[in-house]
Structures are given as structure tokens and as C-alpha cells.
Symmetry: C2
DNA sequence: CTGTTAGCGCGTTCAT
DNA sequence: ATGAACGCGCTAACAG
């Protein structure tokens, strides 16, 4: 175990002062390209790495990013984390995981506590918040005080905090339009939790498509769900046993769509022959169900990736420059497009079955937009 | 934004010196209970938190745990992480996530790099490694040099490093015995990747049960797979088209069992009527398949939890005491029991169908042991 | 362009 | 039982 080298050691090896080494390590200007090269060489040979604690203490920056995330068991989380990790791994930063438990997800006091912990421990120099939910206001405050924050998908009101999200409205529009074009008229909709902004957006997209087709949303066909597994069963029961049963159900996320599939089966309804089903998210199991689920894919990996890149660039600015940061805030939102993934859970309704048939290929993907 | 308080500030408020505050913060002896209480009081009021960087630099511990994990998209990871997070969140420690990409998983050089990065950055004071695979030797070296390490499930040879794992052999035994008791004689087995120790263990469990029933493993019924989705299809094809087709297939993980289900369907074989299928892991989708999959549940949450607790206790020891650590190493392995989760993917074979029928309840769980 | 000087906030001797 | 002084490894002025 070669004793841990310090910046001084490599300064000696290079015949310069610690400051110079520090300069090259922090890619400052004003260093002779030759000595810089030599120093880098030595650093490489010795596999020297800056002591982050010392660096943080002396300078203030920490090369540590905090990530405030909902339970990783949420099926969309792994891909988001992969996007984040991939970016962070390529950077000089490391990622601290502050994981919100199922129980804390809806309690803003507890989330506030977690955030305080993040701030007080004074480790992270930036924060990536995934579905921060009730704590969005705190995060906003934080951000406006100059602490770099990026939100992935939000809840509640818009905020000045940079954020990235998929275009839920357009996605829901595409899914609904797909059903309409297939000949469906009675398309039921299962709402997501009302606290989430994405729920409203998806609902609006559903309405958009209906209006476009000259239809008005039928209140009887719109029921309030809450995104969680099992929660859709009662609603699906209701739809399956209606006198004038809908010919298609658009569930506002895949997990609820699974409930629809299960429930339809229970009632002896075949999907897609008797009932078409569309989900939202395209989480991994959706491709493996029977029938494979037609759904709107959210680019989770990309969302994580872009959020991390955004945060990294904020960090860049706040370290080098000054408050030029605030000037950018207008353009600091990213909306990613969704894709309609056509699988086998939809077909034209019985009374109107001359339209196109959905592809039977598991993996066929159709772009939702143009 | 109240300016960050330092240990000195609260020393002043308490009318004592920084040293004393430091002592109570680190729960040292030799502090007057009264002043200790007063200081704690003030710390509480001010919601003061130690600056971890400074603390680490000055020679203290870092309250940071590194976690070296495979891609979170591995279906068993979220639960493991939940176990880890729950424990860490209750402790004064934070978790740094070092995520291995799909590509790095089998390249020990890259993993070595990641580990070096962990060590050199000098942040983490302990390491939790999940399925470290090829880097087990490095971790062993590390551990033997006194750096706290805990491994969750290993690969390759046994090591002195503390580790936790499920009892794969007993689990596989239970699954196979279940099939045997149901009347199956020709039970095929799809192996996992040979590099993983768990693959061998499960295979041994399979053999144990066979021997117990007076049968010998039939080489034609044991095929080498590799745990990944899709990888089982060719093997399942092979089994489904054999002249003397097996009446049951035991897949060494759930993902491969899904392939068996898909393939059986392709060949027009009904599960469980024509073919019984058992998996291993009990990852979330398994309960929602049609038919719901009978499988051996690994206690992933518990594995993460116990590993984190183990590491925390190592950290405790290495901070307070000395090398009493090594004396414990004998008992520092944890083997958790697995459960056979009986769902609907198994039934007695055609030619022998008088035995018990598997439960139809989705969630019915039977203890594998006693 | 580069070296020198001061701390950053805390743990740890060593006194007292 | 408690305080004073020193230094952890590094960055940030300030000189040159």
C-alpha cells in the first residue's frame, strides 16, 4: 500500500510548488503548457487523485452531487439512474444517494428533513431531485439562493428551477389519437395521482386528441386513479362492467394498465379483441406481458442523462463564473419527446374493424411525433 | 440563509473551547455530563452539523460509505438498494453510488479502476460491494489491509471478506424437491453463468434433491445458460422439442424462466398443464405473469439491510477499537434463507397427476425450509 | 507564468 | 475535565 501521495509529493517530483500542481489539477489558465504536461504525466504515473475533503475544505467545491430520489423500486427509476450514473461517471464528480422511502414520498416534512441533511452535511455542491413532489418549493428557494439544483419531472406548480421532463401531453395525445384512428370512440381514461403535474398533462393530451376528433371527454369514462400497482383494478372493474362498455382504456401509466389487463382477463374479455389497452411509460415488463403492451415510452435514460448534464453545467458556471447563472434560467428546461410503442394490446373495435392492424412484432416502435 | 455555523460558534455559545465540543460530537469520554448536555442542547437548537470534509481531513472518519453496484436495471438491485438505503438513512452515514455499467461488469480492469477511484478520492471509509465479480480479489486485499468491506453475493472463490448471501443451494433443493414431490421425474435445469458461485450452488441444490429421490442428474437435461433475458430461449427450444421432453424445467433465475414461458407458448405447450416451470429470485414481474411464476424468493431487501448493518458495525469497530477486527472475521458471513413461492406455473405431470395441486393464489408463499 | 502565505473546520496531542 | 496549539491536504489571494 504505497502511502497516499499528496499534492506536495507530486509537486516535489515535478520540481514545482503545490500551487502550480493545484492549478493544473483545477485546469486554471496561466500555466506553462510544458510544465502542465509534465505534471499531468507525473500525476498519471503515480495515479494521484486529489483528496476531495481537503479540496472541499480549502476551496468550497466538492465534486459531489446529491441525488434525491424516490424508491428505486419505482420501475422507472433504474433507467433514470443509469442515465445519471453514466454522465457522472464520466465526470470528476461522485454521486451521493439520498433515497426517499415509500413512506416519505408524500410527506413534505420528512423530505424537508432529508434536504436539510443534504445541505447541512455540506457535502454536495449540487442537487439532482427526481420527482421531488411536495418539496419543490424548498428546492426552488434553494436554487434561487444560488445552490445548483435540477429537477427531473416535477409536481405542482412550475418553478424557476431547471428541470427536465418528457412531453406528457404530446405523448398522451399520440396514444389517444392512435386509438381514435383505429376506430375507437369510447375511450376510457384512468387518471394518475392528481398531485402530479404529469397526470394533468396526460389528461390534457387525452382531451386534445378527443377534441381534435370532434369528441368531448365523457366524464363517465374518466376515473381517478393513483398510479400504484393494484390501484387500477377497481376502476377497470367498473369499466369492464359498464352497460355501454368502452372499447379501449388508456391507463395513465403502465402499472395501472397491467391492472386493466388482469381485470379484463377476470371478466373474460380478450385483449385486444374485446378491449384495447394503452399504457404510459414503457417500463421493462411491458414488452413481456401477454399481450405485450402498447404504450407511450418515456425516455427515462435520456431524462437522467440530460438532467445530470444540466447540473454539471450549472456546477461549471457557479464554480468558474458568477451569477451569470440567473440569466440563463429561462432556457433551463428540457422537454423530451415520447414515443408511442405499438405492441399487441390494441386492435380496432368490434363494430368497426376495417382499420389498420397493429404490428405483431414485440419491439416495433412507432414514432409518436412526425 | 443563516451563515453556516462552525464548531467554534457553538463553542462560544456554550462558553467552552472547540475541543470540548469536538469531544461531545465524537462521544468521547471525559466530558462533564452537565456541559455535555448543555452543548448537545445548543447543537440541537442551532441544528448544527459537523462539516464532514473538515472532519475527515483532520483525521476523523468520513461517514461516507461507498457502494459498488452492478446496473440498477438488474431486477434484483432495487430491493437490495432499498435495504441498504434504509439502514444508511438511519445512520449518520451517507451513501456514495459507484455504479458499474453493463459493459464493465465482466471486465476486471475497469472494475479495478473504479475501486481505485473510490480509494484514491479518499472519501468513503467503507465499501459495500454487490456482486463484485472479478474484483473480489482486490476487495479481499483491501479488506485484509484493514479497509472495511462487505460483499453481497460473491463470485468465484470464497474469501475472507465479510459477505452476505442467500442460501442458494437450499433454495434450489427446495424447488427441485417440490417438483419431484409433485411427481416429476424428468426435470430439466438451466444453469446460470458459470463464473458466478451462485450458479454452482443452485446446481448443487438441484442435484441434492435428485439424489435424495434416488435419481441421478441427466446430463441431457442440464444446459448451460447465462442468466440474461433472452438467453434462455434457445435452451428452452431445445428442451421443448426433445424426443423425451422433460415435464418440468427449473430455470436458475426468473428472467430465464420467462424465456421458458415464452418459448413454451411458442411451441403450443401450456404451462403448467404440459410443462411446469420454476424460477429463482422472485423478482417483481414474476407475480404478474400468466401464469404467475412459482419461484425461489431471495430476500434481497434483507440482504441489503444486513450487509449495510454489517458494514456499519465494522466501521464502528475500526473507528473505536483496533485490529480486534480480524478476530471476528470467521463469523462475518451471513446466509439468508430463501422461500419457495408457490404460484401457478407448476402442476403434476400428465402421466402422474394425482398429487397435490399448486395453490391458485397469487401471493401464497410456502416456506422452503421446514 | 510561478512561488509564498494564509487559512478552510475540525481532531488531536499536550498541557493544565 | 478542559483549553491551546498544531496540522490534515488543499485553494486562494498576493507577490514577484
Amino acid at each position: 500500500m504505497p502511502k497516499k501521495l499528496t499534492i506536495r509529493d507530486i509537486a516535489q517530483l515535478a520540481g514545482v510548488s503545490k500551487s502550480t500542481v493545484s492549478r493544473v489539477l483545477n485546469t486554471k489558465q496561466d500555466v506553462d503548457p510544458v510544465t502542465r504536461e509534465r505534471i499531468l504525466q507525473i500525476i498519471e504515473e503515480q495515479t494521484f487523485v486529489l483528496d476531495m475533503s481537503a479540496s472541499k475544505l480549502a476551496g468550497g467545491r466538492s465534486r459531489l452531487i446529491g441525488s434525491l430520489v424516490p424508491p428505486l423500486a419505482w420501475p422507472l427509476m433504474p433507467e433514470i439512474m443509469r442515465g445519471i450514473s453514466d454522465v457522472v461517471a464520466q465526470s470528476p464528480y461522485e454521486l451521493i444517494l439520498y433515497s426517499i422511502t415509500k413512506e416519505q414520498v408524500h410527506h413534505d416534512k420528512e423530505q424537508h428533513d432529508v434536504i436539510s441533511r443534504i445541505l447541512h452535511s455540506n457535502l454536495a455542491s449540487g442537487l439532482l431531485a427526481v420527482f421531488p413532489g411536495p418539496s419543490t418549493p424548498y428546492l426552488t428557494e434553494l436554487y434561487e439562493k444560488g445552490f445548483p439544483v435540477v429537477i427531473i419531472d416535477d409536481r405542482g406548480e412550475p418553478t424557476s428551477v431547471p428541470w427536465v421532463s418528457a412531453d406528457n401531453r404530446v405523448g398522451a395525445h399520440a396514444a389517444t389519437r392512435y386509438l381514435l384512428q383505429m376506430g375507437h370512440h369510447r375511450i376510457a381514461y384512468i387518471q394518475g395521482s392528481p398531485e402530479y403535474r404529469v397526470s394533468q398533462e396526460r389528461y390534457l393530451g387525452y382531451c386534445d386528441a378527443l377534441h381534435e376528433a370532434g369528441l368531448a371527454p365523457d366524464p363517465a369514462l374518466v376515473q381517478q386513479g393513483d398510479f400504484t400497482p393494484m390501484s387500477g383494478r377497481a376502476i377497470a372493474d367498473y369499466f369492464c362492467t359498464m352497460v355501454d362498455r368502452p372499447t379501449a382504456i388508456f391507463a395513465s401509466n403502465d402499472q395501472v394498465a397491467y391492472d386493466v389487463l388482469t381485470t379484463a382477463d377476470k371478466h373474460g374479455l380478450r385483449v385486444p379483441e374485446d378491449l384495447s389497452v394503452v399504457g404510459f411509460d414503457d417500463i421493462p415488463p411491458s414488452a413481456y406481458l401477454r399481450p405485450p403492451l402498447t404504450t407511450v415510452r418515456q425516455p427515462f435514460y435520456e431524462m437522467g442523462k440530460q438532467a445530470a448534464e444540466l447540473l454539471l453545467s450549472l456546477l461549471e458556471v457557479s464554480s468558474s463564473g458568477a451569477h451569470a447563472l440567473n440569466k440563463l434560467s429561462k432556457s433551463l428546461s428540457v422537454r423530451l419527446v415520447t414515443d408511442l410503442v405499438v405492441r399487441d394490446s390494441c386492435s380496432p373495435p368490434h363494430d368497426n374493424k376495417l382499420q389498420r392492424k397493429s404490428s405483431g412484432l414485440l419491439d416495433s416502435v412507432a414514432k409518436a411525433q412526425q
